[in-house]
Symmetry: C2
Subunit: 398 residues, 2 copies
C-alpha cells in the first residue's frame, strides 16, 4: 500500500540501515573508541556560546505568544531584515527582507524552490560528485536529474559537459559550494564561466534557467579562501543557506533562501516559495530559532578543530600513499580508492574498523568520502588503522 514513488526508497533504505547496523555491531565488539566512524556529516563543534545564551535571553525577556507563535510563512520580518542587512554588508549586495524566506534548513529550501519552478520532466543539472539526496528532491516534483560527470583532476565542475547537457528542458542548475563530498570551493572564475554559459543558453532557448546555489558549508572555508556570492554573477540565482553547519544547529532545521529582485518575475516567485513553504507542511521555519539567528547574526562556529583535522588527515593519508586533493572547505576529504571498486575499498576499510562512504553514493565511483567532523582524538587514533589499511593494500607511502 506504499506509493510507487516511495517503494524504491524504502527498499534502498534497508541497505543503508544495514550499513548502519554493521557499524553499531563493530562498536559493540571493539568498543566505540576503537571504531572510526567517518560516515556522518553531523557537526562535532559545539554551537557558539552566544546561541544558547540567546535562547535563554529570548525566553526570559520576550513575549511567549510571539516567540512561539505563527508569523508570515516567509518568517519574522525583523529576522529577515537582519539577515538581508548582514548579507549586504558582507557581499556588497542590496537585499531587503522581501528577498529572504526563512526555511526549515537547506533541504527544505531546495524543496520549495523545486516545487515552485518544476513541471514534470523538467531537467535539473548537477555536477558529480554530488549529494544524491538531490535526486529525491528533484523527483519529488517529477523533475529529471541530469548529472555532469566529475572532473577528477581538481573537482572544479566540468563546464564543457555542462554546456552540452543543457537542453530546452533544462530548468535549473543545482550547485553546492563548498562542496560535499570534495571540499572544493567553486572559484570566482568557475562561477563566472557558469554564468556566461547559462546566460547564453537562456538566450538560445528563450526562457530562464535558474541557478540554485546550495550553501550550507559557506562559512566552512579554510586558509581564507573566498566563496563567491553567486547572485552577483548571475541574476536568476537562488541562494540556499543553512545554519546547520555555520552554527552547528543541524537538528533545529533553520536556514533561508535568497531570491534577488533582479530575478525574472521575482515577486511572483517569492510568493510561490512562501506558499510552497506552507503547503509542503513546514508552514514556517521554527519560530524561536528564527529569533536566535537574529541575535547571533555575526556568530559562527570556531573552525579550529575542523582545520586541525583537515590538515592532520590530509597530510598523513597522502604520506601513507592515499591520493586526494586538499579540501578548501566543508568537512570532507574525497580520497581516491586505491582499488578499482570503491565499495570493495569501503569493505576493506571496515576490516580495520574504519567506516567510509563510497563515492558511488555521490555519483562518483572510484572514490570514498571521509567526514572529518569528529574529534581530533578520533582522527589521531584512526591513523594507525589507516596505516595498516595502506600496508594491506601495499600503497607506496612518501
Amino acid at each position: 500500500m506504499i506509493s510507487n514513488k516511495m517503494q524504491k526508497l524504502v527498499k534502498n533504505n534497508s541497505v543503508i540501515r544495514q550499513m548502519f547496523e554493521e557499524g553499531k555491531k563493530l562498536e559493540k565488539i571493539y568498543g566505540k573508541e576503537n571504531v572510526y566512524d567517518f560516515s556522518l556529516g553531523n557537526p562535532s563543534i559545539e554551537a557558539p556560546k552566544k546561541v544558547n545564551q540567546s535562547i535563554i535571553e529570548i525566553i526570559e525577556k520576550e513575549n511567549s505568544l510571539q516567540i512561539h507563535g505563527y508569523m508570515n510563512n516567509a518568517g519574522f520580518e525583523d529576522v529577515r531584515e537582519t539577515i538581508a542587512n548582514s548579507i549586504n554588508q558582507k557581499f556588497n549586495t542590496s537585499f531587503t527582507k522581501e528577498n529572504i524566506i526563512m526555511v526549515c534548513g537547506a533541504a527544505s529550501g531546495i524543496n520549495i524552490i523545486l516545487k515552485s519552478i518544476l513541471n514534470p520532466n523538467d531537467e535539473v543539472i548537477t555536477f558529480a560528485p554530488y549529494f544524491m539526496e538531490y535526486n529525491n528532491y528533484i523527483e519529488n516534483y517529477d523533475g529529471k536529474v541530469v548529472a555532469v560527470s566529475p572532473n577528477t583532476k581538481d573537482f572544479q565542475p566540468n563546464l564543457q559537459e555542462l554546456e552540452k547537457k543543457i537542453t530546452k528542458n533544462t530548468k535549473a542548475l543545482l550547485i553546492n559550494t563548498p562542496n560535499n563530498p570534495t571540499g572544493v570551493i567553486y572559484s570566482k572564475e568557475t562561477i563566472e564561466k557558469i554564468s556566461k554559459i547559462l546566460e547564453a543558453k537562456q538566450h538560445e532557448y528563450g526562457h530562464e534557467i535558474f541557478l540554485i546555489s546550495d550553501e550550507p558549508y559557506r562559512e566552512l572555508a579554510y586558509d581564507e579562501n573566498e566563496v563567491p556570492y553567486v547572485t552577483k554573477y548571475y541574476s536568476n540565482t537562488f541562494v540556499v543557506y543553512s545554519y546547520s553547519k555555520s552554527l552547528s544547529l543541524p537538528g533545529e532545521r533553520i536556514g533561508y533562501v535568497v531570491v534577488p529582485s533582479k530575478m525574472e518575475d521575482s515577486s511572483n516567485i517569492i510568493n510561490a516559495l512562501t506558499i510552497a513553504n506552507r503547503i509542503i507542511g513546514c508552514v514556517n521555519a521554527p519560530s524561536l530559532m528564527q529569533k536566535v539567528i537574529m541575535n547571533c547574526i555575526d556568530e559562527k562556529v570556531d573552525l579550529t578543530s575542523y582545520d586541525t583535522n583537515r590538515n592532520l588527515l590530509y597530510n598523513t593519508l597522502t604520506e601513507y600513499g592515499f591520493e586526494c586533493i586538499k579540501p578548501q572547505g566543508a568537512f570532507y576529504l574525497f580520497v581516491k580508492s586505491p582499488i578499482k571498486d570503491d565499495i570493495d575499498f569501503c569493505s576493506k576499510a571496515k576490516e580495520f574498523n574504519i567506516l567510509l562512504v563510497p563515492g558511488s553514493s555521490f555519483a562518483c565511483p572510484g572514490y570514498v568520502r571521509i567526514s572529518y567532523c569528529v574529534s581530533t582524538e578520533t582522527i589521531k587514533n584512526s591513523l594507525q588503522a589507516f596505516k595498516k589499511l595502506a600496508n594491506s593494500l601495499q600503497l607506496k607511502g612518501k
Copy 2:
C-alpha cells in the same frame, strides 16, 4: 517560470492577501482595539510556564551538540518512547517508540503520510466543512479530493454519503476532530460507524483504506467531552498530533504521527514516513523542541479563557438571533449566515469592523467561521458590534 501547479495558488493567494491588507487598513483607521479580527487560528493562551522553564533547563544542563544535533529522521528515541507511554496511559493502547514519528507539526505529518501512500489519481475523502489546505496537501501528490457534503443539522459527518463516495480508487479518509471550523467532536458512535463502513469497503475492494485522523485540537475539548482515540476502533489509522494548540507552540512546528503496529504493512509504512520526512526537506522535527515536549508530556494550556470566550460568544450571538451549534472543542464557532451568500455576510460584518472567514473557504457556503482564540476583552468589546450587525439584518433576538 512558475510551475503550473503553483501558478493557481499564487493567483489565489493575492486574494487572501487583499483581505489581510483590508483588515490592516481598518485597524489603521479605527485603531486596533476597535477592529475585531476573528479570522486567524493563532492561539491566544500562552504556553504553560513549564515549556519555557524546560527550554532553559535543557539548554543549561544538556549536551549542546546533542540537543541541536541530527538524530534518526523519526526523532529522538527517548522522546518517542515518552510519547508512546503517555498515549498508552491515557488511552489504554500499547504503542512503543517504533509507532511514533516526530514531525514538523500536523501539516507536515499529513504531507508525509500522503506522500507515502498516494499514487496519482488516488482519492482522499474528507467531510465538509473542512480545512481546505487539505486540498493542497492532497494535490501535492497528485491525489484527488472527494468532499462529502456537510450535515448542517449537527455537523457530525454525513455517513450515508461517505458510503456512496468510496470507490475502488479511495486510498484514505481524512478526518479532523475536534473539528475546524465547526468545533464539533466526532462521537464514539460516529467513529464506530466510520470504522464499520471502511472495514466493509476494504473487504469489498480488496485493499486497505486508511483513516487519517488530524488531531491538533485533541486537548481543546470542553465540558469533559471525550475525544475517541481512533486507532482503537480501526487498525489502518494514522493519528496526526500537533503541539501547536495543546501547548500553544504553532510557530515551533512540532508534532508526531502514530502508526499502529496492527496497521497492514506497518513496518514498511513507518520506514516510508521516516524517509518522506527526510526527503520533503523537513529531515527531522526541530531537536530542542522534541526534548521540550518530553519534559512537558503532561502539560497542556489552561483552557479557561477559550471556554469563557466560547460561552460568552455562543450565548450572546444566539441571543442576538444568530444561529449556530455550540462547539464542543477547538476554538471556532461556525455560524449560519443570516443572508444567503456567506461572502456578502462577511462584507457586511466588515462594515462593523468584524473580520470573519466565509464558510465557502471550508467547502460549506452559507456559514462563517469565528475564531475565538482572542482575548476575552476583544470578545466583550465586539459584542456591541455584533448587536449592530444583528440589528442591521433585522434578526429576531431572544
